[in-house]
Amino acid sequence: MAKMNMLQAVNSALISAMTKNEKVMVFGEDVGHFGGVFRATSNLQEKFGKNRCFNTPLTEQGIIGFANGLAAQGSVPVAEIQFADYIFPAFDQIVNETAKWRYRSGGQFSCGSLTIRTPYGGGIAGGLYHSQSPEAFFAHIPGMKVVIPRNPYQAKGLLLSAIQDDNPVLFMEPKRLYRASVGEVPEDDYIIPLGKAEVLKQGSDISLLAWGAQMEVLEKAAQMAEEQGISCEIIDLRSILPWDRDTVATSVQKTGRLLISHEAPLTGGFASEIAASIQEKCFLHLESPITRVCGLDTPYPLAHEKEYMPDHLKIFEAIKRCVHF
């Protein structure tokens, strides 16, 4: 075990994957000698050479197109998109190519070995284009997996899982926690399964669900609620697609209430999918409407960032409304 922040945990996962398998290649904008604008790829080029860790020209559609070809060839690409806000130029390559490659070829070819890493989320004064949480766009793409860790331990275990997984994975890293979140991380390899949620705390009055950087906000709100005698069950979804409906449904069947929170805008956000599914599965158990505490349906603002964010106070108020419905 070693104390690591999330960047060090990501770096440790990449080093371990590249050491174990010479087909693993890491590339993107500024990831080479410089080690990435957040330093997640520090020292990789020195350790593994310029052929396996390299800078690409500044073209997101090119990075993912290139990665698709590399994956189809049999290599194991780990491509970086500098900010999730800039993944949209590669949207066509991801939606129409990466995700459909295996299906359209009848399983003859696939991009299963591809992992796309990208920093996401707000709270860093990033304004419109350094704050977005685009996971819901990608949750609508059959063939993709979407994964979001909440701390350094998760980051390493889930990233190693994503790299090994035989399906293309979008791995979204909460950049607000890159240096802020520090924890014990095993130096050896370990994996955390994809598609599995984690119940962090048992409770009986309400189920609280979030992912990534929003988990610590949720925990803070839960603590306030607990102080008022409300027993909260806290779940980290971890995988957006495919998501772990059974764990969430089991929890809601016990508590009778569900609150989902994410930074991304409300309309069309992934909370909508969860709410609809749980409403179908748990209709007779629900004692109050499923509540969503999300970002506003606006672009992500700079000056009003604090007001935009679904913070612990907004969640706390929503928990009380839900419980006292």
Binding site: P57, N96, Q108, G195
Partner: protein, 394 residues
């Protein structure tokens, strides 16, 4: 840290210098004249009689297949078709210059390359009828071929996407130390997509052994090339990216063969990309959903019919004493018969069982797909007459 000087190759000027189009003079390689007689100054590549016969036979077979399948679409027997009439030389000639281990990534009008690799009449039919024997499991529209054994990457409809993919594929081949390159086909219309820019720039910077072959056939559906670009075709762009570039007469199979041979040699030896622009003409309609009489003249088509690549090559073979009129007639008749009988046979093969609707989305179907399939099967079982192709085999 290394000092860099990005001005080091730039000369100085002391007047305002405006560089305009046309300064680069990129000629078109032509070895055989329209009548099949080699140009006096031309050096022909080595070609055995056997190879020449395979090239001509493949071009002729594809023309027969195209004619027959366009008719089959008109009869409503298949849903869609794309002919490559007039462009047989650019695909067959280039495929003939490759090795079987080279990966082919194509756009959709390259059935000539696939046939040259050994794709059979039956395989063509299986794909067009989307049946259960087809390796893509009937999921894609007709002409979206793909076959792993022949190193022919499955085609997709979005234009230009295969260009940066080919760069990545070739980089993987290089890293694996393979004696192989990737060839990437696309039309001049697709070259306007952002992926063209991304793919060529990445291949040049990352030194990928890939051959980009642009079929510049004058039209992207109804859009003539003068509404597609204002520069000197596609070839002049290669130079801008630092990609070695060859422009070739796409109706001269000998020239395409020579150019591709040279490109493969450079790509492997120097581990770098090469761009070939093949100047040709889309004699066919864009697809069975298109009628070119709405946007171009019969005269124009006739002028290009006179430059027929198949006749040009046959004439050259004749001059070598490698072409027997009677034997060729027999071959054409046999090919027509084979296409017809395979069509009749294959159109009766059933489509895949409904279970295949959820396989290959992921390596293993996750819970939600299994749930959706179970619901679907129960529904089909309830209304079997509404789903006749699958209800009998639930």
């Amino acid at each position: 840290m290394k000092d860099r000087n990005h001005l080091s190759n730039i000369g100085l000027s002391h007047q305002v210098n405006v560089i305009s189009n046309g300064l680069l003079d990129i000629p078109m390689l032509q070895l055989l004249q329209a009548d099949g007689v080699p140009h006096a100054q031309a050096t022909l590549p080595d070609m055995t009689q056997q190879k020449a016969e395979k090239i001509l036979g493949t071009m002729q077979f594809i023309r027969i297949l195209d004619e027959r399948m366009v008719a089959a679409q008109r009869q409503g027997r298949i849903s869609f078709y794309l002919a490559c009439t007039g462009e047989e030389a650019s695909t067959v000639g280039s495929a003939a210059a490759l090795e079987p281990q080279d990966m082919i990534m194509s756009q959709y009008r390259e059935q000539g390359a696939l046939a040259y690799r050994g794709f059979t009449t039956e395989q063509f039919m299986d794909q067009m009828f989307s049946n259960e024997k087809e390796p893509n499991k009937g999921r894609q529209m007709p002409i979206h071929y793909g076959v792993k054994e022949l190193n022919f990457m499955t085609i997709s409809s979005p234009l230009g996407t295969q260009i940066p993919q080919a760069s990545g594929y070739a980089y993987g081949q290089k890293m694996a130390g393979l004696d192989a390159v990737t060839i990437c086909y696309f039309g001049e219309g697709a070259a306007s997509e952002g992926d063209f820019h991304a793919g060529l720039n990445m291949a040049a910077v990352l030194k990928c052994p890939v051959i980009f072959l642009c079929r510049n056939n004058g039209y992207a559906i109804s859009t003539p090339s003068e509404e597609q670009f204002a520069g000197d075709g596609i070839a002049s762009r290669g130079i801008g990216y630092g990609v070695k570039t060859i422009r070739v007469d796409g109706n001269d199979v000998m020239a395409v063969y020579a150019a591709t041979q040279k490109a493969r040699e450079i790509a492997l030896a120097e581990q770098c990309p090469v761009l070939i622009e093949a100047m040709t003409y889309r004699l066919a309609a864009h697809s069975t959903s298109d009628d070119p009489s709405g946007y171009r003249s019969k005269d124009e088509e006739e002028r290009w019919r006179a430059k027929d690549p198949v006749q040009r090559f046959a004439a050259w073979m004749q001059s070598k004493g490698w072409f027997d009129e009677e034997q060729n007639k027999l071959f054409l008749e046999q090919s027509r018969q084979e296409v017809l009988s395979e069509l009749k046979r294959v159109e009766k093969v059933p489509i895949c069982k409904i279970d295949e609707i959820i396989t290959d989305v992921y390596d293993v179907p996750p819970w939600h797909l299994k749930e959706q399939l179970a619901e679907l099967k129960a529904h089909i079982a309830k209304y079997p007459d509404a789903y006749p192709k699958t209800s009998g085999r639930l």
